[in-house]
């Protein structure tokens, strides 16, 4: 197979690029963006329905599109993009050929077919079981078939990533250890194996149950195993977007981690402990012991949270060190003021980092604490939390990365640069809004997945405080803003891929948003300095907010549940 051994040399980076790998990255990324566009639109409609003054969808459509929204964005957008990232972090960063490109195309076809089948099932209306598809709610059999086929395709893609690591090692295409970004991708791939195994263990019997071959599935058993998949897949996202943060800092600023050793150890914490946090979804479940709950969500989880805190310090630290090296040394925050805020790859990454830490991280630890979880369980606080993690964190980081991937992989200049510059701010502000206002409404007790909180046609009524209705309105407005930011992303990406100036001519200019030779992204090496005072201040502010908010919640709990 001559075709599978063809390479080109990248005119920007000088890296050797395996052409079949490049084609696969393109295909997976394009499909990802299509699912983001479709799923994002559904999200907007859901949010507009929960805005009581608008209340746009009828009840059946609300639950239908809520199901489609969750699947299209959290499964299909994110995972197609991650497969593209896995191929990028292995074949491209390791200067190596991708293992079995033909099989990667089979994986791609399976994923696409699975995603299409699941979408058809949901849109037909018999599968409005929402993202978690808890039994005994039953979806149409082809809903489960779609998810299983998608998972088989994904597992194949993950296998190809591991195969590529083996090839790179045997053909000695890199020296020493794999680059940090590839190590982050490896972390994501490892978590993906556990995720997909849990998915297979639970979805195959559920499919058999849906066609009548199995009579019952125990609901608690279902939840335990399903969340082995449902939660762990979020940890794939965390590992992947942290890798993307490092990659963007390296490409845009030439940043190196403060310490390779420490950053890798933080990823090791993820590999060992992050998946155990799946148990936080069962904190309110009767019948399961507190030992299991507390071990998995506290003792073990805090080690994984420690990993996140290390990355949360290491990424801004890397940026600060790089900026100081470039000469931006004024004061404590001169490096931050002089950061390339007009470069959407950088601004998107930094906004993702801040929102993920402050909104997603802190609310996550609060939700993951058995006692205070009870105040927010199954309220809108939960979607508020995870829109901060998977939308502000993962989705925005992936969007930011696209501004580098389009010139490097598609070899097209970004069009509409002004719109591109504003895009991360629009989307970031919108998503910060939906996260905060959903958390706010949840704190006031508003349930998640609820079509009409005014109970207008219910025999028993209940009145939420007016502040809750206000929060839902603000949430709807933020959703519009986020949707505009999302639309801007799709316009810029599709426009660039189709109409962007070609960058493969020998005399082509350096891409707009890649100001320097991005060599550090594929290399091993630490920044070799600990002089990062600005980062230390930022981290201190973070810790203080964290501690304060955590204890405020215990205080609330003591008021709800007085011990007399």
């Amino acid at each position: 197979m001559a075709a599978s051994n063809e390479f080109r040399t990248c005119s920007v980076t000088g890296l050797k690029v395996h052409l079949p790998a490049e084609a696969l990255i393109k295909a997976n990324a394009v499909v990802a963006v299509v699912f983001l566009a479709v799923g994002g639109l559904f999200g907007l409609l859901v949010a507009l329905t929960r805005w009581q003054a608008v209340h746009i969808l009828p009840a059946e459509w609300f639950y239908l599109l809520l199901t489609a929204h969750g699947a299209d964005v959290l499964l299909f957008w994110v995972i197609f993009f991650e497969v593209a990232l896995l191929y990028f972090a292995s074949a491209i960063l390791l200067n190596c050929r991708l293992a079995t490109p033909w099989l990667a195309w089979v994986a791609f076809a399976l994923m696409l077919a699975g995603a299409a089948i699941a979408n058809v099932a949901v849109l037909q209306g018999e599968s409005s079981v929402m993202f978690t598809s808890y039994v005994p709610m039953k979806a149409a059999p082809h809903f489960y078939v779609g998810l299983i086929v998608f998972a088989v395709g994904t597992l194949t893609a993950v296998g190809i990533f591991f195969g590529t690591l083996v090839i790179a090692r045997e053909e000695r295409t890199y020296q020493g250890s794999i680059p940090l970004v590839t190590f982050g991708a490896l972390t994501a791939a490892i978590i993906a194996v556990f995720t997909l195994a849990s998915g297979a263990i639970i979805l195959i019997p559920t499919f058999l149950w849906s066609v009548g071959l199995i009579t019952t599935i125990d609901p608690v058993m279902y939840k335990v195993i399903w969340w082995g998949m449902g939660h762990s897949s979020q940890q794939i996202n965390v590992a992947a977007h942290v890798a993307v943060w490092y990659a963007i800092a390296a490409v845009v600023l030439g940043a190196k981690p403060i310490s390779e050793k420490v950053s890798r150890t933080a990823f090791l914490m993820y590999i060992l402990f992050l998946q155990l946090a799946s148990a936080h979804h069962l904190l309110a479940e009767p019948g399961i012991s507190s030992e299991w709950k507390v071990f998995n969500t506290s003792y073990a989880l805090y080690l994984a949270v420690l990993g996140s805190m290390i990355h949360g310090m290491s990424v801004p630290g890397a940026i600060e060190a790089a900026q100081r090296k470039l000469g931006f040394n004024a004061g404590i925050f001169g490096w931050l003021r002089k950061a390339p805020w007009g470069n959407p790859a950088f601004s998107g990454m930094f906004i993702s980092l801040v929102l993920f830490g402050f909104l997603g991280g802190i609310s996550g630890v609060v939700l993951g604490t058995e006692q205070i979880n009870l105040m927010m369980h199954n309220t809108l606080y939960v979607p508020g939390h995870f829109h901060a993690t998977v939308v502000a964190g993962t989705t925005l980081a992936f969007m930011a990365f696209t501004y580098l991937a389009v010139p490097l992989v598609f070899r097209r200049e970004i069009v509409l640069p002004t719109l591109a510059k504003w895009q991360p701010y629009l989307f970031g502000l919108g998503v910060a809004g939906i996260s905060l206002f959903m958390m706010g409404a949840g704190t006031l007790g508003v349930a998640r997945r609820h079509w009409d909180i005014t109970f207008s046609d219910a025999p028993l009524t209940f009145e939420y405080p007016p502040a809750a209705i206000l929060m839902m309105g603000l949430n709807g407005m933020s959703a519009v803003l986020a949707a505009i930011g999302g639309l801007a992303y799709v316009l810029v990406v599709v426009g660039s891929i189709l109409f962007g100036k070609r960058l493969d001519a020998p005399d082509a200019e350096r891409p707009r948003f890649i100001p320097r030779l991005p060599t550090t992204v594929a290399a091993y090496g630490s920044a070799g300095t600990l002089h990062v005072p600005g980062t230390i201040v930022l981290v201190t502010v973070f810790f203080m907010s964290f501690v304060l908010y955590y204890f405020v919640n215990w205080k609330y709990l003591s008021e709800i549940w007085p011990m007399r």
């Binding site: 591991f162 020296q175 190590f183 490896l186 335990v224 155990l276 299991w292 090496g525």
Partner: protein, 57 residues
């Protein structure tokens, strides 16, 4: 699979590779750990917990 001796930056190949780095460079050992640890502590333990709940009559 013989672990290729990774070189640290600037160091020669002869330099002894620290244990931690050998672990981090052993991708398939990491894969084994990353699957086994949650399989035992979360899945197997969790399933045992659920299996021990008495059946209602």
């Amino acid at each position: 699979m013989p672990a290729m001796a990774p070189e640290t930056e600037g160091g020669g190949a002869a330099e002894r590779v620290p244990a931690m780095q050998r672990l981090l460079d052993n991708h398939f050992l990491l894969l084994f750990l990353g699957v086994t640890v949650p399989a035992v502590l979360y899945l197997v333990w969790g399933i045992m917990e659920v299996a021990q709940i008495p059946i209602g009559k």
